[in-house]
Symmetry: C4
Subunit: 211 residues, 4 copies
């Protein structure tokens, strides 16, 4: 035992939590492509039929793109958040796992919307999953940042506030898309495609946390 | 060869063992969602039929939630355990791979219970897999901690003991759920949903290993 | 809060970006094998029929090999590129995610070409995906390297140029394969098998970035 | 650019190569469970029929166990090998990707043997894949260790030799299993189950590379 390389350090880093999360994100996002079913074609004119069926898959391509973008947004949010979090504990691990459960569920409503995009129930489940995922991400932030519980020292208060607002802001827009689904499915769908633009805009906190 | 950056260090760290384990955990947990089959609907009233079928999938949703939670528990246990383990060797790699074999098997009884939840054999296989996985995790701990073989120096004896008890405790409860399955499937199912609460409670060793 | 282990460092490293990318690459490349469907055999002479069907799968084996090689090329390119990039920001994360979306899409045209290899549309989609993926990788490099924006200091200008040319060079060849598909599918297929050789050749910049 | 955190270091570490390999290994090994098909049961006595079908799946369970063990052996071999390798280059990346292509192919013969275990062709493909994978692993080692090309300094010559022999040794046994398949499928199968025991034995080099 004297040859042990080092003594135990009771600080729980977030290294494995981040590695495990990256794994779940990577799998959920890569498996989305399996929601696009390769057409089964037979008949006299295979070429024309295959071309026709590949074109008819456009809702699947759109669902792939939108779902990939939504999971990307959550990954980037998680990435930015954990740059500010310095350590972990049992509660944070569980909150993070609840969030990952939501992320790993996304492929289900994604393939639902790809197959039954005209049904209101598909849109409700899709937006609902996104909203619950957003709330779960916010819970992680609320727990870690309250009183600076698990954060690095020296982060400006404004950065902590804006980070929370950004998560809630996106979640609010998905709530609007959910509400719109009861009025007009088309309007709801269009909003869903445009929400990511909100996250592409640079944030007022970027200068504080980058470079 | 003189340009080699460093000389060989014969210490086997647990870095890759943990990275590989996180990968297996992440995949097993993320693939659970594929146990929820997207309904195939046709007929006159697609909307009503789809809503009906999505509701009828509740055993699949429940199985997803319970299995995600069980794999989460094993991951958190593995995470806590390897914070205390400082190095690896051939035996530990094999014990860890046996444990991972059990973890990666979980999706099979999980989809079994999701499809045939009313059958006793499904519950037996599900609880049995969980018990064997728990025993495999305990074997890792027993091997690494006996005489402090692979642990960091300076870990309180009580922490080592309680860590072992927590693993065996959960395994015991899954044993009870297995026994109950022969008496009442409903009672067994209810216990299965509540066992995770045992792990949500903070442990008496948390103050020693966190912060 | 006084027990926080360290103060916040506003440098965004590329660690998690690389880990997440490796996850997506690993999954996309490993799932290619599922494009090879295990034959379903029945009848009087199962042995002969199975042997026959396994031989008839040769386009699937070829597609597996070619697609594995193409994703390998992109991974090695990404790997080499990020050795030169020292830090990240929101724009780089998004450009990287667009690239990963293309990578994760590759299994779809790969199974298409494995099932309908004689159809022109399959070859067009396959080459098209590869070209767009190459352009997305080039976008990352163009953004990160312009004015040395996110690069390490002290990288010879020639290395930066050649790195860009290598990406565009491969993309150009896939463009030729796409064009050939309209003239002769066989010629296009042969080119597709030989393009990777271009990347196996050592690069003139290797001495600058290796060892 | 003056704010760049560090100058470029031309040493290519094996970090990302190992992370990517762990990802491929983790996915290939975790997906083996999907070779065990959940039975589809209907009829008057669902319970008896389900029990019967689950028992009849024993070749799938065996194939899962054996394949998991074989991939474990390759992972442990890769893990041990890269502890001795200090840096990477383009050739090593390609040799490693060829090896990973073999690893990611294993689930195909594994499900073949699980479905058609009595067919000689299944056993030939299974053993053949294992042999080629072993040779690919040996190629990595031969390239990295010749003249100590990519190894750490100070590794005893005997360790380098024995590491190579262990890989070739296992590959030789799989060759015997392949040969046996032409004489007696049963004998070949039994050998396949026992080969892993060879790797469970501690190696004469373990004292040199552990602890």
């Amino acid at each position: 035992m004297s040859s042990n390389p080092a003594s135990f350090k009771p600080i729980v880093t977030t290294d494995r939590l981040e590695a495990f999360s990256d794994g779940v994100f990577a799998i959920a996002i890569t498996l989305l492509v399996f929601g696009i079913k390769v057409p089964v074609v037979s008949g006299v004119d295979v070429s024309a039929e295959l071309r026709h069926q590949l074109l008819a898959l456009w809702p699947s391509y759109l669902s792939f793109g939108v779902s990939f973008t939504i999971i990307s947004i959550f990954w980037i949010g998680h990435h930015h958040m954990f740059r500010l979090i310095s350590r972990s504990n049992r509660t944070l691990l569980w909150l993070n796992n609840v969030f990952l459960m939501c992320v790993s569920f996304i492929p289900f409503p994604a393939s639902l919307i790809s197959l039954y995009g005209r049904e209101r129930i598909s849109m409700i489940l899709y937006c609902g999953t996104t909203i619950i995922t957003g709330i779960a991400l916010y819970m992680i932030w609320a727990y870690a940042s309250t009183g600076g519980r698990l954060l690095y020292a020296g982060i400006p208060k404004r950065v902590i506030q804006v980070a929370g607002w950004r998560i809630l802001g996106g979640t609010f827009f998905y709530g609007v898309a959910l509400g719109l689904a009861f009025v007009s499915l088309t309007a709801s769908r269009i909003l869903l495609v445009f929400i990511p633009l909100f996250y592409l805009l640079p944030s007022s906190i970027d200068p504080h946390i980058e470079e």
